[in-house]
C-alpha cells in the first residue's frame, strides 16, 4: 500500500548530507508501472471468481429460499416439471464425505505422526514419497482403481461406500501433509520438557504434541473434506445418480450434489436448468460452510 503513496509524492528535495539523493526519475516510473501491473494482476484474478459467484448466486438463489429444496427429493419429478428438492443429494454428499473422513483421518493423522515423530531412514523416505505420489493422482484414476477392486475383482455393486473409498485416496495425502506441517510447528522444547518430566514418548505425543497442534490438524481435516466434497470423477465412475432418497451406503445408487448437477445438465428445459444452478449453489455453500467452520475452530482452539 505504501508503495502507491510514495510513487505519487514529488521527488525529494536535493540532499543535505553526502551520499543522500532524491528519488530518481527512473525508479519512480518503475514503481508506478509495477504498482499498476501488480494491482492489475490481482483484479484480473478476481474477475472469474466474482463472475462465478454472481452467476451461481443470481441463478440459483430462488430455489434455495423454498424449504422444499432442503426437505424433499427429486423422486417422480421430470425435467419438465417444477418442484422437488435436493435433500437426497445433500444427504448423499454429506454421508459419503463423513464416511470418507472417518476412514481417512485416522490413517492420515497416524501417518503424519509416524513421519514427524518416529520416521527415520529409508522407510520414512519411502512413505513420504508415496504420499507425494498419492497427492498427484488424478481423481478419476483413484476412482478407476476402486472400480477395479470393488466391482471387477469383488463383483460388488456401485454404491456410496465405493465412492467414499475413492475419496479416501484423495483425502489422505491432503490431511497427511497438513497434519505433518502442524506437528512440525510444535516446538521441540515442549517435547523435551515432557521427556524431562519422565513422560514416555508416546504419552508426550498423545498428551502434549497433539493437543498443541490440534486446531491446525482440525483445520486441515475440514479443508480436506471441503475439497473431496466437490470431487466428481469418483461419482461418475462409482456413484450412479438416483432421484430418490437413499440412506444406505451399501445398497443401491446414492445421489450426490455433483451428480445432481450433471443430471440436470443438458436438459434444455427451464425447471432443470434452475435446479442445476440451485444445486451448484448448494454445493458451494456446503464447502464454504466447512471452510468457515475450519476457521472458527482454528480461532477458538488456537494456542495462545
Amino acid at each position: 500500500m505504501s508503495t502507491v503513496t510514495s510513487s505519487t509524492e514529488p521527488a525529494a528535495a536535493p540532499p543535505v548530507g553526502a551520499g543522500l539523493s532524491g528519488l530518481s526519475r527512473g525508479r519512480s516510473v518503475t514503481n508506478s508501472v509495477m504498482t499498476v501491473v501488480v494491482y492489475g494482476a490481482f483484479l484480473l484474478a478476481l474477475v472469474p471468481l466474482a463472475w462465478i459467484l454472481w452467476t451461481v448466486l443470481s441463478r440459483g438463489y430462488s430455489l434455495l429460499l423454498d424449504q422444499n429444496w432442503w426437505l424433499t427429493s427429486q423422486r417422480g419429478i421430470t425435467p419438465r416439471r417444477v418442484g422437488g428438492g435436493a435433500y437426497h443429494a445433500i444427504l448423499g454428499t454429506l454421508v459419503q464425505a463423513a464416511v470418507c473422513a472417518l476412514i481417512a483421518v485416522p490413517i492420515a493423522v497416524f501417518t503424519a505422526i509416524y513421519l514427524v515423530e518416529y520416521g527415520r531412514g529409508k522407510l520414512a523416505r519411502a512413505v513420504s514419497f508415496m504420499v507425494d505420489i498419492l497427492t498427484g493422482i488424478p481423481s478419476i484414476v483413484a476412482a478407476l482403481f476402486i472400480y477395479a477392486v470393488w466391482v471387477t475383482t469383488f463383483g460388488l455393486q456401485r454404491v456410496g461406500f465405493a465412492v467414499s473409498l475413492a475419496l479416501v485416496m484423495l483425502m489422505i495425502p491432503v490431511v497427511v501433509r497438513s497434519t505433518e506441517e502442524m506437528l512440525k510447528l510444535v516446538p521441540n522444547e515442549l517435547r523435551e520438557a515432557s521427556y524431562a518430566l519422565g513422560v514416555p514418548k508416546w504419552k508426550t505425543i498423545a498428551r502434549i504434541v497433539i493437543p498443541t497442534a490440534l486446531s491446525g490438524i482440525i483445520t486441515g481435516v475440514l479443508l480436506g473434506l471441503a475439497r473431496v466434497m466437490g470431487e466428481t470423477a469418483p461419482l461418475l465412475i462409482l456413484g450412479p445418480y438416483s432421484a430418490s432418497i437413499n440412506t444406505s451406503l451399501v445398497d443401491g445408487p446414492m445421489a450426490a450434489l455433483p451428480t445432481m448437477i450433471k443430471d440436470n445438465f443438458g436438459q434444455a428445459l427451464q425447471p432443470a436448468t434452475d435446479r442445476l444452478w440451485a444445486s451448484a449453489l448448494t454445493l458451494i455453500l456446503l464447502v464454504l460452510l466447512l471452510n468457515g467452520a475450519g476457521r472458527v475452530v482454528a480461532r477458538f482452539s488456537a494456542v495462545r
Binding site: 521427556y195 524431562a196 518430566l197 519422565g198 504419552k203 494456542v303
Partner: protein
C-alpha cells in the same frame, strides 16, 4: 532425597562427532555445581547426558558411566524414562505447555505419570509453586494459561513443574539467560533455597552468577573449533575464582578470552 553423581571417563558423541571427551567428576548431594566455559565447549551437551536427554537427539550416544548413588544410568537394565523421572531438568528458554493452565502445567508431570487423585495433585501443585516462589503471584489465577505469565514467572513455573515430580537431582541449562536481572535474582534466590533438598547442576555463561550461586565450579574448554570439549578443572567455587590451578581457567575467568 538428594543423591550424588559420579561420572567416569565419559565421551559424548553426535553421530561420528565427538563433542565431549573423557570427563570424570563427582557431584555432591545438596550442593550447587556450576558448569562454565566458552560456547561450544560441550557443557550443555554434558549436562544433558546426566538425565539421558542427550540420546533424544538423533545420533546422540555416550561411552563411559554416569552413576547416580552408585547405579550406572547407562546400564542396559535402566529405563531412560525412569532416569528422567529421577533427574529433572529446567531449560534455557521457559517452555510451559501452551495448552495447559498454570495448575495443569505444574501437575503435568504427576498427571502424565498416572496420578489422578485431585487432593494429591492440588497439594503437589501448591507445594511446588511455593517451592518455586511463585505461589503468591499466581494462587488466584491457577486456571489461567501458563503462557500468559511473564518470562521470569514462566521460568519459575517450569522449575515448579520440574520439582513437582520430586526428582533427586535438578539440572538447569542456562536457566536465566532469557531473563532480566530482577527475574534472574529471583531464580538465584530460589536455587539457594532448594539446594537444601536437591542436588543442583547449573550451566551458565554468567560468571558472576556461577560465583554467586554455586558451591563447586567446573570449567570446560575446547582446544579448537571441531575438537571435543574437555573438563579442564573442577573445584570449590571460591578457589576456582580466586586461585585456579590451570592457566586457561584463569584466562577465562579474568576475561582474557571467551
Amino acid at each position: 532425597m538428594a543423591q550424588r553423581i559420579d561420572v567416569k571417563d565419559l565421551n559424548v558423541y553426535y553421530g561420528a562427532f565427538k563433542a565431549v571427551e573423557d570427563v570424570s567428576m563427582s557431584i555432591e548431594p545438596r550442593t550447587v555445581t556450576a558448569f562454565i566455559g566458552p560456547s561450544g565447549c560441550g557443557k550443555s551437551t554434558f549436562l544433558r547426558t546426566l538425565n539421558r536427554m542427550h540420546e533424544v537427539i538423533a545420533g546422540g550416544r555416550v561411552e563411559g558411566t554416569v552413576a547416580l548413588n552408585g547405579r550406572d544410568l547407562y546400564s542396559k537394565d535402566i529405563d531412560p524414562v525412569a532416569v528422567r523421572r529421577t533427574v529433572g531438568m529446567v531449560f534455557q528458554r521457559p517452555n510451559p505447555f501452551p495448552t495447559m493452565s498454570i495448575f495443569d502445567n505444574v501437575a503435568a508431570g504427576l498427571r502424565l505419570n498416572g496420578v489422578k487423585t485431585k487432593a494429591v495433585l492440588a497439594e503437589a501443585v501448591e507445594r511446588s509453586l511455593k517451592g518455586a516462589n511463585l505461589w503468591n503471584e499466581v494462587k488466584d489465577r491457577l486456571d489461567k494459561p501458563g503462557a500468559g505469565l511473564s518470562g521470569g514467572q514462566q521460568q519459575r513455573l517450569c522449575i515448579a513443574r520440574a520439582i513437582a515430580v520430586e526428582p533427586q537431582v535438578l539440572l538447569m541449562d542456562e536457566p536465566c539467560s532469557a531473563l532480566d536481572p530482577i527475574s534472574t535474582l529471583a531464580i538465584e534466590d530460589l536455587i539457594d533455597e532448594i539446594k537444601q533438598q536437591y542436588t543442583i547442576v547449573i550451566v551458565t555463561h554468567n560468571m558472576q552468577q556461577a560465583a554467586r550461586v554455586s558451591d563447586r565450579t567446573a570449567f570446560f574448554n575446547l582446544a579448537a573449533t571441531g575438537k571435543p570439549g574437555r573438563l579442564i578443572e573442577m573445584g570449590d567455587t571460591a578457589k576456582i575464582f580466586s586461585n585456579p590451578t590451570e592457566k586457561a581457567t584463569e584466562d577465562y575467568i579474568s576475561g582474557r578470552f571467551g
